[in-house]
Point group: C2
Chain length 253, copies 2
């Protein structure tokens, strides 16, 4: 039997013990019952990966009047699937984060935060991923929390189109408002930093520099973040390029 | 100094020893020099995940007059990054597969094949992911290979728009032609199959049934595949829903 308060499923990609997750739980307890299923370890860069080659384990971490939390050996997207399948009650909303670090521009492709958000969206509920532009494990989320509450409330009131979820990035420091944006075009100039292990074998760390291909273009998320505003990019979970479909139908194979 | 034949980078998500990869190498050697960097083990469901929490190792498997191949501990997207960064020459094309099993409909979100294809696209080159609708490790790729060659040749001739790559699915059995499609809407009704380990602890395997939300709708990839035609879905590596941007700009926060 469904109680009247909505069920809000929360996960993240920094893992069950991240500060940003605890801060998000705080905010979401204002709006409903909270179910947390989060990765047992940091899972950055996991995109919408799911665990097919290994089994998944889920175990209780905390249970109190306000929320229940579980850690999961799987990816952020697996955590969302577990939240919809293992607890008997269907979540009404999926909220992800608050991520330690931005998920702006093209980086959404790699983002575990946004992978989980898209997974929530595919389950047919309003799904929002929140990220703070501060990688510090002890980042200050106090200003963000007010805005997370405000944005969540507004989105619940208005609703979202089918197969659209939201990517919200919050600047660190001063917040001058919120703007709806598109994803900034950019790419990575990668570096594979070469190291040697004690047995004289090479290994690499993936790193590099993000190149913004549209610096100072208004309405792009990176530009808006630089102006200390929160960015909301509506994200479509259908990747078809319809313009290209029309164009390619003229080709002869 | 760049030789005249183009450099074609190949990877997959079934791993360096998969039959589909060897078949794709065969075809691509017709068109240029081939560099293979593929996961050392099966990496299905890895989406566009990248390895940030662990180092990456890359080691030579084979070197002959036609191609060089390397195995990599990373994800399919990592393999593409490695191909662009560790070998001194920039690939001209990225070709992925041939995957054992389809990557149709919404499943592109989870697909390691398509994660790697999108990674190639983000590097600014023509990128195509090929999948055969047959999960058998010993599947018959003979009919597919002719079409892989034909489609690759046509796409090289025509080119693709910026930030668009292709998701090609090939039916098993008879092939009645090729059709440009959009991604079919659908979702998974998941099942977490519960098992017990020898220590009496629960674990789960992720499974379920894919629900086609648009059965028999012409122009969708699943419907076209059912009619024994090859599907080509042009995929945009920018997830912004521009219609929703316009709509949400009317909201007051």
């Amino acid at each position: 039997m469904k109680e009247e308060r909505p069920l809000i499923l929360i996960t993240n990609d920094d893992g069950i013990y991240a500060k940003g997750l605890r801060e998000l739980i705080d905010v979401m307890c204002l709006f409903g019952k909270v179910l947390v299923v989060a990765p047992e370890r940091a899972m950055s860069g996991m995109s919408a990966a799911v665990t097919l080659e290994n089994p998944i384990r889920v175990s209780e971490v905390e249970k109190n009047d306000n929320y229940e939390s579980y850690k999961c050996t799987g990816t952020p997207a697996d955590c969302v699937k577990a939240g919809f399948n293992l607890f008997g009650e269907r979540p009404d909303y999926v909220v992800i984060g608050i991520n330690h670090g931005p998920n702006s521009g093209t980086n959404i492709v790699y983002s575990g935060t946004m992978g989980a958000t898209m997974e929530g969206c595919l389950h047919g509920v309003v799904s929002i991923g929140f990220s703070l532009c501060d990688f510090d494990a002890d980042a200050d989320f106090s200003k963000s929390k007010v805005w997370v509450a405000r944005i969540f409330q507004k989105v619940v009131e208005k609703g979202l189109p089918e197969r659209v979820c939201l990517n919200v990035n919050i600047p660190s420091g001063e917040i001058k408002g919120v703007e709806i944006c598109r994803q900034t075009k950019g790419h990575w100039e990668e570096e594979f930093e070469k190291h040697k292990d004690p047995y004289n074998h090479d290994y690499y760390w993936l790193g590099g520099t993000f190149i913004n291909e549209e610096p100072d273009v208004s309405g792009t998320d990176l530009c808006v973040l630089e102006n200390q505003k929160i960015t909301i990019v509506p994200v479509k979970v259908d990747y078809t390029s319809l313009e290209t479909v029309d164009e390619m139908r003229k080709w002869e194979f």
